[in-house]
């Protein structure tokens, strides 16, 4: 993938990407209220004096919305277009809506699924794709995990 589009790993997001490398979806959680915090950050807005923790979540959710981008785009997405981008409302807290891509099957590319097959509300589960030595990204496939 184009280096420009790979996320820079910083101390806030490193535990998320470490989880992805290990095939787990991890979320930051407020240690006091147990509410998920996303995007991750140094402080919990609901208990700024209590250090947030990281937990493993189920990797299940539902499609909240989706788009199908067409050119002009940037490489490598220009070559993949039209592809889909979905927002996944997590089972543990649907207010956390992760951006991702729906694949027809694990290992497929993001342009392979016919966008007509995407339905808001459909259940999806996370799978993981290694895109560089450092970065593994979550992707999504249909069905409960």
């Amino acid at each position: 993938m184009n280096e420009v589009l790979l996320p820079p790993i910083d101390e806030d997001c490193a535990p998320f990407f470490e989880g992805c490398r290990q095939g787990e979806l991890r979320m930051q959680q407020c240690a006091e209220t147990r509410r998920l915090i996303f995007p991750p950050r140094p402080m919990s807005p609901w208990a700024p004096r209590v250090k947030p923790v990281w937990i493993r979540v189920s990797g299940r959710g539902t499609v909240w919305s989706f788009v199908v981008p067409h050119p002009p785009l940037l490489p490598p997405f220009s070559e993949l277009a039209p592809y889909n981008v979905i927002l996944v409302a997590l089972e543990e807290d649907p207010r956390v809506r992760l951006t991702g891509n729906l694949l027809p099957r694990e290992g497929a590319t993001i342009g392979e699924l016919d966008p007509a097959a995407i339905e808001i509300g459909a259940p999806v589960r996370a799978v993981f794709e290694r895109v560089s030595d450092e970065i593994t990204l979550p992707r999504w496939v249909r069905g409960p995990g």
């Binding site: 420009v4 919305s65 981008p69 067409h70 039209p82 808001i120």
Partner: protein, 381 residues
């Protein structure tokens, strides 16, 4: 209280085009000098400056080019298209509190011939870590995500978005200064247009423009003796809702209740003008779906009713609430919404090419989906 304490007494703008030869600096100076001429105020009297953080011309450059006097108030507002009305509102506060006497707000941008910010290097912001690696790259993709959900929840259709695009285009068709002057847009053309990010097509997107605009703010007292019909800054609001993110406001309770709602509650808090009293509105229109979302946020209809509001020519001249009467960002020029401010002023002066008869009040908004701002303008006497 800020209510009616300051007024806009001068407006100026350059030509708008896909490509203009002068630099952003030269265009900014041109627009500002035209605004000062319009106000009948000498550049040496300017002592306040406000613009966008995305503006490439800083206050030092502007002041030395226009021949300003000593500057005693200067400030910039962030978040791109969220900034326009806030620049004017902050000048109004500075004038009302005595921090300056003649304030100039401006925006100069060569977005038509220049680069696309989303195509720039590295991550634009921290939230980009969570969106760009998946191909959610451009503002249009980010707003298309909200649009699809809005359609799903409230039954909005592409016809509703077309209502917006066509209403605003008709305004531009009668505005000789608009990039889309005399260039009609039919529903058939809209429906046949290429996708940019489904469900948004080409005509759901604003123009790519070069141009600059400016306005001059002074006290209400000084405005009474000015050359122009004073346009009072009746109310001003800003809004950055709790736990919201700019453009990708997906990690909150309800992404379809955006910053407009927060901004509106502050805007109306001290306003004598209620939503139902507004004669005309200039609503930030980088993308057509921002219109129904803004209509809802600013209380012009109920939640989820913004799409239906666009039916039966409601947004056109003679309709329930004419909007973007110079053609807006969709069809006049996209200069981060500053043309909405100057057109609001023309409506209050009674000199718009699409004049709403006897208009006394005008809402001017900045972008929904980013930390935002808005003004209510009122025709002075």
């Amino acid at each position: 209280m800020l209510k009616d304490a300051a007024a806009i007494v001068g407006i100026g703008q350059t030509r708008f085009a896909k490509r203009l030869e002068p630099s952003e600096k030269a265009l900014a100076a041109e627009a500002i000098l035209l605004a000062l001429d319009d106000a009948g105020i000498a550049p040496s009297e300017v002592d306040g400056l406000a613009s966008y953080t995305m503006e490439t011309n800083d206050e030092v450059e502007i002041a030395k080019n226009i021949g300003a006097g000593d500057i005693t108030y200067f400030g910039q507002v962030g978040y791109g298209g969220g900034a326009g009305p806030a620049c004017v509102g902050q000048l109004a506060m500075a004038v009302a509190t005595g921090q300056c006497r003649v304030g100039v707000a401006w925006r100069s941008r060569k977005r038509g011939s220049g680069t696309r910010p989303w195509a720039g290097d590295r991550q634009a912001s921290a939230p980009a870590t969570w969106t760009r690696p998946y191909g959610l790259l451009r503002p249009v993709d980010e707003i298309a995500m909200l649009t699809r959900r809005y359609m799903h929840e409230f039954g909005a259709t592409r016809d509703h978005l077309a209502n917006v695009a066509i209403a605003v285009r008709r305004m531009a068709n009668r505005n000789p200064g608009a990039m889309m002057f005399e260039r009609e847009l039919t529903r058939e053309q809209y429906m046949a247009a290429r996708w940019i990010s489904e469900p948004l097509c080409l005509f759901d997107n604003c123009l790519e423009s070069d141009g600059a605009l400016a306005c001059v703010v002074v006290s209400a007292e000084r405005a009474r003796d000015g050359r122009q019909v004073p346009v009072a800054i009746h109310a001003f609001g800003q809004g950055l809702p709790s736990q919201s993110h700019t453009m990708v406001n997906y990690w909150c309770d309800d992404p379809l209740t955006g910053p407009s709602w927060t901004c509106a509650s502050q805007l109306y808090r001290h306003s004598d003008v209620r939503p139902e009293d507004l004669d005309v509105a200039q609503l930030y229109d980088a993308f057509t779906p921002l219109i129904p979302l803004s209509l809802e946020g600013y209380g012009l209809c109920g939640k989820g009713e913004g799409a239906a509001f666009t039916e039966d020519g409601a947004l056109e001249l003679g309709g329930r609430l004419p909007i973007n009467t110079s053609g807006g960002g969709l069809s006049e020029a996209y200069v981060h919404g500053f043309n909405l401010i100057t057109e609001g002023v023309r409506q209050m002066r009674g000199v718009s090419v699409n004049q709403v008869p006897d208009a006394q009040t005008c809402l001017v908004t900045a972008g929904e989906g980013v930390p935002t701002s808005a003004l209510i303008l009122r025709r002075g006497s």
